[in-house]
């Protein structure tokens, strides 16, 4: 049996759709958490982040023929799709973002006690509130860097700008976040 690969999508006749689903399933295993974390840096609601993650992979399976492995990695392509899904969602929802304490139940915490977990949630909540107060462009950079854990080259590919520009814009965004947190 031919393993699912991007290169044989569209070449297997009736099996093309199944192959696309299999590839997307593998991509979800590899990059689903990065996509989810990207959305969590933008939306306070875990259910919204889950819906956006699912929608991203539904878009990916439909547009998989557009993916060109010569132009970039699956991760950067999927995050480009995720970015478009988020923009579309924002246009529809016109929501203001905020992070009320207590909605971080999906936060990964290696804390031995409930008290420590609470302190950690408060710390992360403060950071997320600071991020939510930033301009969308700044949130975008921080979400790609710390949510999706992209390096500057990958961020440059997603944003369509040079690496140097990514670095300078990211540091400016972080400086603004620092000011926001200390104000």
């Amino acid at each position: 049996m031919t393993p699912p690969t991007v290169s044989n999508i569209g070449k297997t006749g009736s099996g093309a759709a199944a192959n696309a689903e299999a590839v997307c399933g593998e991509w979800y295993e590899s990059h689903g958490a990065a996509v989810y974390n990207y959305f969590r840096f933008h939306v306070a609601d875990t259910e919204a982040a889950e819906d956006l993650t699912a929608d991203t992979f539904l878009h990916v399976v439909r547009a998989i023929d557009c993916f060109d492995p010569n132009k970039g990695s699956p991760k950067t392509w999927i995050l480009t799709v995720a970015r478009n899904v988020l923009m579309d969602w924002r246009r529809r929802a016109r929501l203001r973002q905020y992070v009320p304490i207590g909605t971080l139940h999906d936060l990964a915490v290696e804390a031995p006690s409930p008290e420590e977990r609470l302190l950690r949630e408060e710390e992360v909540g403060r950071l997320m509130n600071g991020i939510a107060a930033l301009a969308p462009a700044d949130r975008e950079l921080i979400g790609l860097r710390y949510g999706s854990e992209l390096d500057t080259a990958e961020m440059a590919a997603v944003l369509g700008i040079r690496e140097g520009a990514v670095r300078s814009r990211l540091w400016r965004a972080m400086s603004r976040l620092r000011e926001e947190l200390t104000s």
Partner: protein
């Protein structure tokens, strides 16, 4: 680590704090997403009716036309009421005059009133001052002494007939007296020069 060396000194602590943040999607999300892919489920929002950008522009343009032109038509039975604002009908120098026409559709004029749009509503409201209010017959109101000016305004659909082929003729004494107002229909050809006032 190269990434760490890139970061300016004053942002390293923040970088470390942000790097420690990690969210775990619920374990069932993966199988759920794959299940949705297998079922060929539709995307959220996809297929829902959307108003195209061009339609939105058309609606916006229509609204702007209505608001800025101050032009509305109210139909009641066979009669139509047209409110058209704002122009300088009385020669006062300010485009703050409107005209209210009650007519049979494209036919007989029953009433014409010229008013000053005092409250800036771009339509006739109870607070506005009526400069002239006449019935179905053309008549000159008051003295027609010196200082009389003629104003002509064309063309709009002032009688509710449909085409924008109606004009107004006004005799005024600036700055705020209107002694005559009449409506005429503009027709192509020689008759255009002979105004049939209604």
């Amino acid at each position: 680590m190269k990434r760490k060396r890139d970061i300016p000194e004053h942002l390293r602590e923040l970088d470390a704090a942000l790097s420690r943040i990690r969210f775990y999607p619920r374990a069932s999300l993966g199988p759920e997403v794959i299940g949705r892919l297998r079922r060929g489920e539709r995307l959220k929002g996809v297929g829902s009716p959307r108003i195209s950008r061009s339609t939105l522009w058309a609606i916006a343009a229509a609204l702007v036309l209505i608001v800025t032109g101050g032009f509305w038509v109210h139909r009641s039975g066979r009669e139509v009421t047209v409110d058209h604002c704002c122009f300088d009908f009385d020669g006062g120098g300010r485009a703050d005059d409107g005209v209210l026409v009650v007519a049979s559709h494209g036919d007989q004029v029953h009433r014409i009133a010229v008013y000053e749009d005092r409250d800036g509503s771009h339509s006739f409201t109870p607070g506005d001052v009526i400069r002239i209010d006449r019935g179905r017959h053309v008549a000159v109101d008051g003295v027609t002494a010196g200082g009389l000016v003629t104003a002509r305004h064309c063309c709009s659909d002032l009688d509710g007939g449909g085409p924008p082929d109606d004009g107004l003729v006004l005799l005024s004494i600036p700055p705020d007296k209107v002694t005559l107002v009449a409506l005429y229909e503009s027709r192509p050809g020689p008759s255009q020069t002979r105004l049939t006032l209604r």
